[in-house]
């Protein structure tokens, strides 16, 4: 019985040949982008990758554990703050600052998790909003360290990655690695447990699973990935201010996940690309671009509540 279960899991966890070649193709196409895009567009593509990672980290909880977090912007931003503070004020080398940022985000996520895992649904949502607001408040008021409203600036990006395209490739490599890690994570026995909790918490509990512990680990891991995104963002922007840890940041991450498709993981990149492209294209035509963005979300929610990738899957799936 045990061995049967494991072989099933092993099959689920290993990438099929077709899947692997599709993934390789996508990465190859993405890697070729800087050859055809302008430097500004390469910058946007970099941003898509970074926010894609953030949205995926939210998807781990939202799509696979059934708990949508509105506090991930804060976790993401803590990493950004720590990376910039560590390299500008303390003078650590970029790699050490990066590691420290991810560590800080993971710790913050662990604290969030301790407080939030026993809740679900709207309570989980509210609790994560509140925790995020606390982080935002600290960043705003602790002027000596965070620079308050003005934020902190400095050249964080390592010299070798100064060129737009090189930095893009570095982020792409990181994104590919992190995406693979998350994909394995949600397909591991642990990830299946999370899905079990999503579908029926009481059944998982009666089967003897330690539900809070699983959620705690899931939340912390998700925070780790958000931290990676935040650290990359620090190197991309060379600047951080309270708006990076604000509620709007968390909401944007969730919207990207939802637009791409909840529980699809890779949909997050599609959602991030759609939203960032929309923001940039529409804002050239009208200063009311936020309104257009809002309308687009309403349309997505009406016609494709399962998200862009979810909808495509539903269309391409063979009719039963």
């Amino acid at each position: 019985m045990m061995s049967a279960r494991f072989s099933h899991l092993a099959r689920a966890a290993s990438m099929s040949g077709g899947g692997a070649s599709i993934a390789a193709l996508i990465v190859a196409v993405a890697a070729a982008l800087p050859l055809v895009l302008s430097t500004y567009q390469v910058g946007l593509a970099t941003e898509v990758l970074i926010f894609g990672i953030l949205a995926m980290s939210i998807d781990i909880l939202g799509g696979f554990a059934g708990r949508t977090s509105l506090g991930h912007g804060a976790i993401f931003g803590v990493s950004t703050y720590v990376v910039i503070y560590a390299s500008v004020q303390v003078g650590l080398p970029p790699a050490a600052a990066f590691a420290l940022g991810v560590l800080a985000a993971t710790l913050i996520a662990a604290i969030f998790a301790l407080l939030a895992v026993r809740t679900s649904g709207v309570y989980f949502l509210l609790l994560t909003i509140a925790l995020g607001m606390i982080v935002w408040g600290i960043c705003l008021r602790w002027t000596q360290v965070t620079g308050g409203e003005n934020g902190i600036r400095g050249d964080v990006r390592p010299m070798v990655l100064l060129a737009h395209s090189r930095f893009y490739w570095a982020v792409l490599a990181a994104a590919a690695a992190v995406t693979y890690a998350m994909w394995r994570f949600v397909r591991s026995p642990f990830g299946l447990t999370l899905r079990g909790i999503r579908d029926s918490e009481s059944r998982m509990r009666s089967l003897g699973y330690n539900v809070p512990l699983h959620l705690f680990i899931g939340f912390t891991a998700s925070g780790f990935f958000a931290g990676v995104a935040g650290a990359l963002y620090a190197m991309f922007n060379n600047f951080v201010s309270p708006s990076t840890v604000g509620l709007a940041q968390s909401v944007e991450g969730v919207l990207m996940m939802v637009a791409g498709g909840v529980g699809t993981l890779f949909g997050s990149f599609v959602g991030a690309a759609a939203i960032i492209a929309l923001e940039n294209v529409v804002s050239t035509y009208t200063e009311r671009w936020q309104m257009v963005l809002g309308l687009t979300f309403i349309l997505i929610m009406i016609f494709a509540p399962e998200g862009i990738i979810g909808k495509l899957r539903a269309i391409s799936a063979p009719k039963a």
């Binding site: 430097t39 500004y40 000596q144 003005n150 922007n237 060379n238 708006s243």
Partner: protein, 419 residues
């Protein structure tokens, strides 16, 4: 709407220029227009100020028929949404995609600091007529970031501190929004005032967007001070001035304000409550200088309101760029030369009616007025100069090197001299 119409008109004008000017165009060394990227908050908390910034730019370009040094000017406006991350992204777009020769604008210090950090890497000339953060022209100066037609936050409160001493004030309390702009303005006043023998009795810091000032006003009323200095912007300024009068403090204690507290953008909507408030500034719309009056009159005719700091500063900033470009035959592509020329340009024609030059740190040296809010014949309020301090440097009377060795003004460092 305005912007779209503008873009349409500009492109039409450009197209016709391209067709009509083809024969002699080759005679000019550069091809194409001068591209200026304008960043202004058109949405978000300071959107109303942002709209006036754009008006200032359009007003100037309208007067010169969109032409500087014989070349057409094409300007693109981007909305920074009062958010530093958006500002940064829009700056990237203007520089990397729009190929702008220079950037001008931004209102909130955090947006300006974010863009300044970005242009430090690209070398694009960036002009900041509104951003007042002291350190951008002091301790953390970036050569291509120049505060043409702008001012550093503490530059005007230094002379205000001196003026307060001369009025015989010995005890002052301050109340201010709790962010860098407030810390710096209060610090300038506190340092000069305490070094001259005055005493800062207490300082109140409140969060931005405070709706109810009664907790502060109650305490202020009990302090028995000679004057109260308030550093408020936008809606906070409106509410503070109203509630100050409402509490009956107006009749008892003179109110000194930072220049932004009695700017037109604030007192335009106020009644008698704002009358008599004193503030220091380089620009006073009620000055009897004929050049100032001409500017104010024309602006009022065009936009139906007395120009605010935002309109005035952007207008003067554009004029400064124009003056510099004229000196270098419009070669906006040569960034190094543009920066050097702007730094050396002395601006004569600005609405101030006096010539203005920059110090060695890229910050203008102004004659600073001590202004008082007065009711005009038609019932509108404006700032009228009462005294003036000639040639005020951002370092006041201190030696720049020594001054910059002291920490920047913050909530914890206000330059207060220990008795």
């Amino acid at each position: 709407m305005d912007r779209r119409r503008f873009l349409k008109n500009t492109s039409a004008a450009l197209a016709s220029l391209g067709a009509a000017s083809a024969p002699w165009r080759s005679a000019i060394a550069q091809a194409g227009p001068i591209k200026i990227g304008v960043l202004a908050p058109l949405t978000g908390v300071v959107a109303s100020g942002g709209k006036e910034m754009v008006e200032g730019v359009q007003f100037y370009l309208g007067q010169v028929n969109n032409e500087m040094a014989g070349r057409k000017v094409e300007f693109s406006i981007e909305d920074d949404a009062s958010n530093p991350d958006t500002a940064l992204q829009k700056a990237r777009r203007l520089v990397e995609q729009g190929n702008c020769h220079m950037l001008i604008g931004n209102l909130l210090a955090n947006t300006g600091l974010a863009v300044a950090n970005y242009v430090k890497g690209t070398g694009t000339p960036y002009f900041i007529p509104i951003i007042a953060a002291d350190d951008l022209t002091q301790r953390q100066r970036i050569k291509n970031v120049i505060r043409i037609a702008g001012y550093s936050a503490s530059a005007f409160t230094h002379p205000l501190g001196d003026w307060a001493l001369k009025q015989g004030y010995r005890k002052i309390a301050t109340v201010s929004q709790d962010y860098t702009f407030g810390h710096e303005q209060c610090g300038g006043l506190a340092q000069v005032f305490t070094e001259g023998g005055g005493e800062i009795v207490q300082q109140f810091w409140h969060p931005l967007n405070t709706a109810d000032f009664s907790p502060y006003l109650g305490q202020l009323a009990d302090l028995k001070v000679d004057a109260i200095f308030a550093m408020e912007t936008g809606a906070d300024a409106t509410r503070f001035i109203q509630q100050y009068a409402g509490f009956g403090l107006k009749a008892k204690t003179p109110l000194l304000a930072a220049m932004n507290g009695t700017d037109q953008s604030v007192i335009r909507t106020l009644g008698d409550d704002c009358e008599g408030v004193v503030s220091p500034a380089h620009f006073a719309e009620g000055s009897d200088n004929p050049v100032t009056q001409k500017f104010v009159g024309e602006y009022e005719t065009k936009y139906g309101k007395i120009p605010s700091l935002y309109g005035f500063s952007m207008y003067s900033g554009m004029m400064w760029i124009d003056a510099a470009l004229k000196k270098m035959d419009g070669k906006a592509e040569d960034r190094e030369a543009l920066i050097d020329t702007v730094l050396k340009t002395e601006l004569d024609g600005s609405p101030l009616g006096k010539s203005v030059k920059l110090d060695a740190y890229g910050n203008p040296i102004y004659d600073v007025y001590i202004r008082k809010v007065v009711k005009r014949a038609d019932g509108k309020f404006w700032n009228v100069p009462t005294t003036s301090y000639a040639g005020v440097s951002q370092f006041w009377k201190y030696d720049p090197e020594t001054y910059m060795k002291q920490p920047p003004y913050s909530r914890t460092f206000q330059g207060i001299k220990k008795a």
